[in-house]
Symmetry: C2
Subunit: 418 residues, 2 copies
């Protein structure tokens, strides 16, 4: 990372925003990487809380406001972190880019294709990128597998799958109390609303927007029973939310077809009892990785060993294929979420400090986010296949991994070897 401190504005201070401010950004301050010039949220109590935290840690007094435009008006700010509700991500991001601020944006899906194009056009007009802060791209296992893929260990990759498989019934049912945006989305929309935790790492494996692209998708949702049943049980039949006809299906399955022929299956699975998993799975002609069971099966191994017998067989590959970024990070681990937050925010801060293209750029951000609105359309039309726009207008053919001249240790597209 560069030695220059960058000046940050932090927009969105809910559970995630405040957590990142506390766990990541203030640690970066201590390491001399960032200054926090402004904090913003729609809710005053959150803003004041964040203000106090910054003041206590740094001795400095950031601007605090409930209007993000006041943050964008601060001339000295180099970059903003957008950690607001999903619905406002692109609005705030594009306003920031137009104000000359680089954008690191938390994950979430888009509500319209138009919004995704707006993001891309704003980049093309301003030259300023919006990086989706997809922490899962920096997971230790995801990077192990990416490293193995790039070194050809799994052969040709033909299929990937993954999911956001996380029992969120409690969070969603109490979304009004917690002022969380998921509840209103689940009550009103039916779509793959959170594709990027699995799609981000898969996009790296498949070189999406770098020699490959997503062509079309089809998406089908199950009925919606889990959340309603949970609300009735926890809050009683007389609670107003017990009368809500929940729009969001319990399980949404999306199949994406890529220009180079691969398929990707995404699963949104957040309102039924289950273990947490992102189900990251990569299938090649010479082998496979599967997160559920944490196993690797290589060509030539017996197919009659069950998953139960193969559990954790991926571990032995770390010795040879640990990603160099993780080799480095393990020496001095900082931050939560198994390091992935630290790494993705570090990648962003580095790209701002060095004025380089972030490893996840605006084309990536737009093409990952668009899955939500496209799945909504497909589900509404009984699984109709819908075209996935080419936000690069053909540049994906030229943006190959060989073209990646990045010197950054955070690069996700170049081939790295120990």
């Amino acid at each position: 990372m560069s030695e220059k401190r960058i000046n940050l504005g932090v927009i969105g201070l809910g559970c995630r925003g405040l957590g990142i401010l506390n766990g990541i950004i203030l640690s970066m301050y201590e390491l001399g990487k960032v200054e926090i010039l402004g904090v913003c949220d729609l809710y005053e109590d959150r803003v004041k809380d964040a203000y106090e935290k910054v003041k206590n840690k740094t001795g400095k007094t950031p601007v605090y406001t409930t209007d993000y435009r006041e943050i964008l008006a601060i001339k000295e700010i180099d970059a903003v972190l957008v950690m607001t509700a999903w619905e406002s991500h692109i609005e705030i991001a594009t306003a920031a880019m137009k104000a000359g601020k680089k954008v690191g944006m938390e994950v979430g899906g888009a509500y319209s294709i138009d919004d995704c194009f707006k993001l891309v056009k704003t980049y093309e007009e301003t030259g300023i990128h919006c990086m989706m802060l997809e922490n899962c791209c920096y997971g230790r296992k995801e990077l192990l597998v990416l490293n193995m893929v790039k070194q050809g260990v799994f052969g040709d990759i033909v299929h990937c799958s993954g999911g956001y498989m996380h029992d969120l019934r409690d969070e969603i049912a109490n979304g009004d109390v917690k002022r969380h945006y998921r509840q209103r989305n689940y009550f009103n929309r039916n779509c793959e609303n959170y594709p990027t935790h699995e799609l981000g790492p898969i996009a790296q494996v498949l070189n999406i927007n770098r020699g490959n692209k997503m062509l079309y998708l089809t998406s089908v949702a199950s009925c919606s029973k889990g959340l309603h049943e949970f609300i009735v049980e926890k809050k009683g039949t007389d609670h107003p939310h017990a009368k809500v006809n929940v729009a969001q299906g319990d399980i949404v399955t999306t199949i994406i077809k890529c220009a180079q022929g691969q398929t990707v299956v995404l699963t949104l699975d957040t309102t039924l009892p289950r273990s947490y998993s992102r189900g990251f799975t990569v299938r090649g002609t010479k082998g496979m990785y599967c997160e559920d069971g944490n196993y690797i099966h290589m060509d030539g191994e017996s197919e009659w060993e069950t998953v139960a017998a193969k559990v954790n067989s991926a571990e032995k590959y770390f010795e040879k294929y640990e990603h160099p970024l993780w080799e480095e990070y393990k020496k001095n681990p900082v931050g939560g979420h198994d390091g992935i937050d630290w790494l993705v925010y570090s990648a962003f801060v580095e790209s701002v400090a060095n004025n380089t293209t972030p490893p996840i750029d605006t084309y990536d951000t737009a093409s990952w986010m668009c899955i939500s609105t496209l799945s909504e359309e497909s589900i509404a039309c009984s699984g109709k296949p819908v075209n996935i726009p080419d936000f690069t207008n053909g540049k994906w053919i030229l943006r190959t991994e060989e073209e990646d001249k990045s010197e950054s240790i955070y690069s996700l597209s170049k081939i790295v070897k120990k």
Copy 2:
């Protein structure tokens, strides 16, 4: 099972047919359940081999022929087993039904919707059923889960998934040598060609054709790389098959939507390195079962236990929820494939002997088989959703589990308790 011996004709004596004759049917002969009056295959050597085996075991001389019509002409035959290549299943089955023979038919998919309707119409005209011999419906774990589902342990079921996930590259690549039908299918078709091993058990869980039906599906195939690469490696680039443009995608994902709102995801995954699995997974509002890892997660358990930690947690449920059929079968296990062949063939033989409706009837057979041809259409049209016909013409609404008056221990639709 009834004490009356039934008279069987056996049509199709490839690897599967001969295996079943040897491992199941001749054991049933010894138990006084069946006589084998005729054996048939297109290949003379196979017919003679089967003839010798029957003669050696029984001391009797069955008719042997390469023309299945000669089998159907044997007046004394009550039922035929159809274990031929996929392409001839429905032709032979319907000819047999018209000849007054009950049909037990091995698994496989259909090539046209018209063929599926032909099967159903032949039943409706003759009153004679064609039972698909879907052994996986009788798997011990499948029946454990079915029993738990029917007793409401998993709550409302909203989603199921499964696959035929079996590295068949060697079998397919050598299909010409082995006179096996898979090779020509893989070279020429691209579809979910083998849906029933997972769909059969799932159909029981979801009461398909008994209060529920499959409404539509969408299907997308990955590119085809595994088989070609395997052929080139094993047979060299000069082998004629190394020049074949393999039609079948390595991984086919199919999403089925049901009338009662559930989704079903099927995966065909047979030409890449992997462990064998049928991936049977059942998701309800109160819990889930997953074959990969053989675990059960119930509502209230911590979601932060990984699959690796949950491995084999399903085992403890056998004590309370073992299906009564398996309780019985375990006392005196016979036959291979973990008993599932024995059980499904016993179910068929019992239904013939007692002249009762088989537990898997012609409507089930047709609706499971049609998935292959519908997926072919959907894949060819980039995942276009296609309607799944109602082969019952509305009778699925009346054929509920409460209606099941079957006394058979092999019944799959009635609720059973210890």
